[in-house]
Amino acid sequence: MLQDARTNFETDHPDASPLSIHDMTVAYHRKPVLWDVDYIAPAGKLVAICGPNGSGKTTMIKASLDLVPRASGSVRFFGQPYAKVRSRVGYVPQRGSVDWDFPVSALDVVAMGLYRKIGWCRPVTRKYKLLALEALDRVSMADYADRQISQLSGGQQQRVFLARALVQDADLYLMDEPFAGVDASTERAIVAILHGLRSSGKTALVVHHDLQTVGEYFDHVVLLNMRLVATGPTEEVFTTENLKKTFGGKLALLDQVGQRMAGGAK
């Protein structure tokens, strides 16, 4: 069965899917953290990626975007390698991944989403600043455009990050914990943005830690714990049994094998 799938590359990566992952394994310092992930994202849906800490949620996104090397497997976006369709994929990293004391304004950060379009060695001109301002407005942050980013609350910072991806006008959005540590109004603003994306036919894969809201916010769900536990429409897959499989402790065997491959004790 598996052998059969490998020979038929076309069916592994259907063109229609915004993101298809085939047999992906990722290792940090030779210790695998994600095993044999096979996943085809449905177009035009909001998908939650859930799993306990250290289950490889962030790794799945980063490895798809070629940010961490894959030990094996292949990834296609819209049927193509990522390098060819970068502009169609918007990435929202974890908020904690950058230094918010950095001397830039909210508008400057959003404009970074346009740097590829602006190109090498050219300054950010007025035209692009207006685009960035428009994106800030979509997340109700236009009034804060000139604020230095350390003077924003956590939720506001998250909205700025979201606006940086939105300004790119991508077709697929990969978001790493956008709901982490945000206030109620930001949470609602992000949900509204997600709904807006879906109704214009776009797809979003969102790493989500709040299991209580998965059913309310997302159409599809990916349950992850070092391997893919279950995936599909939320109402079918988001069951107690699956959650138990996902969150019921780390898989002892996989973990031990991983340790051994890394060459001994942690």
Binding site: K62, L65, D66, L67, A83, R86, V89, Y91, P93, S97, V98, D99, F102, P103, V104, S105, L107, D108, V109, M112, Y115, R116, I118, W120, C121, R122, P123, V124, R126, K129, L130, L133, S140, A145, D146, Q148, S150, Q151, S153, G154, G155, Q156, R164, G181, V182, D183, A184, S185, T186, R188, A189
Partner: protein, 505 residues
Amino acid sequence: MNVRSRSLPAILLLAVLLVSPSTLLAQSQSEPATSNRPATLGAQLLRVLTLEDYNTRVVLAGTLLLGISAGLVGSFMLLRRRSLVGDVVSHAALPGVAVAFISMEVAAPGSGKSLPALLVGAAISGLLGVFATLAIRSMTRIKEDTALALVLSTFFGAGIALFSMIQSMATGNAAGLQQFIYGSTASMIAADVKLIAWASAGAIVLCAFLFKEFGLLCFDEDYARAQGWPVVFLDLVLMGMVVGVTVIGLRSVGLLLVVAMLITPAAAARFWTDHLGRMALVSAAIGGGSACLGVLVSDLFPHMAAGAVIVLAGSAFFLLSLLFGTRRGLLQRLFIQWRLERRVALHDLLRSFFEFAEPRLSSDLGEDAMTPGSAPRGELAQITITFVELLAIRSWSPAQLRHALNQAEREHLLFPLPTGGYRLTDTGAAAALRVARNHRLWELYLIHYADIAPSHVDRDADEIEHVLEPELIDELEALMRTERPVAERPTAVPRSPHPIEETRV
């Protein structure tokens, strides 16, 4: 909108303005360097400030450009948290200088002191040092700081060993090489300065062209990579500039101090602006300024080494920025804190006034209590409270209370009655109502959103509207309406969500 990111042309302009006269200056080298010094200090000062000496002009131009480029490159290194890389490069450069000298002496005795060749040697071994650090960090469990310390001392030790070898060589007239350790501007010749000027100008132009790319790299490397920017290449260019600036700085400032030229101006600039472009410009200006000061002072007092004065001038700029900087400078922070404490004391006083009066008010606070001329506002201004009564409301000392009362009186919020006791003015009554409303909205907020509150608080804001996002205020006011039906309008003062006695701890 605004005039941001005009900084790119500005940097270019700066580069062009500085490069052109300095290269011209360096080319007109027919004049011999004068060494006869006038007797009086005043005459000397005049001679130095008017740049009478050809030699001073040459050294000044070269060092100024070095200061500017180090300030620019240093800003990026600071933001990329690579401040110590310059230190590794400079220490690791020493064996390169020695090896270059030895190989040239072996090839053609007497040719060993050519600066370009020595600097090439320095750059190569400086880069080796950086790669050794990176290799140790990524291939072993040793952390970056340990790797830096290891590489730095190993290379430096090798350099010193080679230097002592050179001194014992038959052809080895190594006296000049000591300059690379402590630096020496006075003995620089026009050709040296030309080299320094070109290298600095190159770094300045690169910074100007790749400004946006370097900014992105420093802020969010992963995002830059996801967008398809060649992160490794950009990092190498940045590293190359650090190596370049460090190596040319060796000659004038010396390897022990060159890292200060990279880092001090950038660290000082951070206290003046929250904008990357302006930070780079301020840093370049501070770098250039300290370089000028260093050269001029050491020209005036020939016993002072220019390198040391440059670094000390940079440190003085840093100290001034730390104290007086407009972006979290020490004095500004102290002032803000002092102002905040004053305001908190005033607010506590007004709220105590209100809480004392609240049970005695007959008019409804749920109506438009906050609007001018409202019944509660008028009533509030009619209530008298004594010092003793106020003292009992909160846990403040008589001195603190008296201080707050004096302050409120100065601001015409209340006035003492001739018969004893205090009354609020109409402005004071309005302020008391507003303070109480804000306080209670805030309490509602903490009760309902306590876990996210800390990240949200701007303690410097006077009104809750300035602290919280508008949507959240709407939500809180809705909450007030449902949970405290007495407060039906946003202008109303809600009841305290807890018994008042609890605050009198």
